[in-house]
């Protein structure tokens, strides 16, 4: 059964203090791994797609990396506006587009 586990559940950073969020996954055959940002009371907002081990994607202060068992979302010099819940999801091969989500990491960046 496909499974996604994110850690830590919550993370508090000072503005400018870099850190990483982890997403561990178990999937029969990975078609893609996705990172989303979710603000309170809102829908998930797409950030990155990663397809294969070794791949990296960057967007502003965020960089996502992928290995065969996990993905990291690195946040460099975060700002208060980066405060949100970051969701990781996987899609396996042969399914109908279904995404399996982790429980998310809630990031708070203090000025």
């Amino acid at each position: 059964e496909d499974q996604v586990t994110q850690s830590p559940e919550a993370l508090r950073l000072q503005e400018g203090e870099s850190s990483s969020l982890n997403c561990s996954y178990t999937v029969s055959g990975l078609r893609g791994l996705f990172w989303y940002r979710q603000d309170p009371g809102k829908g998930p907002e797409f950030l990155f797609t990663l397809y294969s081990a070794g791949e990296e994607k960057e967007k502003e202060r965020l960089k996502a990396t992928l290995t065969k068992k996990e993905s990291f979302l690195h946040i460099t010099a975060p700002k208060p506006e980066d405060s949100a819940t970051y969701l990781c999801a996987v899609q396996d091969q042969g399914n109908t587009g279904k995404l399996i989500f982790g429980q998310g990491t809630t990031l708070q960046v203090k000025p």
């Binding site: 893609g32 009371g41 829908g43 998930p44 797609t49 969701l87 587009g97 279904k98 995404l99």
Partner: protein, 112 residues
């Protein structure tokens, strides 16, 4: 920028009543989905829909749920005889190529 639109943003209903949640997916997308998120819990897959048929549904998507694409732009989720445990955020999502998805802002359903 194209987006998935959901209405209403908040729906309050009496237990046992029927509700219809509405979505307008991104216009050139072909694959449509419903997910739900109970407060404090994971986003959970409900159903995927393609070519006017359900492609896959989860165990949650039992006989009280149904989906429909009544015209070329709308995609609906109907919940018959709502229960207290149906209270959640319901997200519609769409994709062009069955890979990943773009999500709407959600409908908060409160069953009282």
């Amino acid at each position: 920028e194209p987006e998935v639109t959901q209405t209403p943003s908040h729906q309050v209903t009496q237990m046992g009543q029927e509700v219809i949640l509405r979505c307008v997916p991104i216009s050139n997308h072909l694959y449509f989905y419903w997910y739900r998120q109970i407060l404090g819990q994971k986003v959970e897959f409900l159903v995927s829909f393609y070519n006017n048929e359900i492609s896959e549904k989860s165990e949650i998507f039992d006989d009280q749920f149904s989906v429909e694409r009544p015209d070329g732009s709308n995609f609906t989720l109907k919940i018959r005889s709502t229960k207290l445990e149906d209270s959640a955020m319901y997200f519609c999502a769409s994709s062009f190529d069955q890979f990943g998805a773009f999500f709407g802002q959600g409908t908060r359903l409160t069953v009282v």
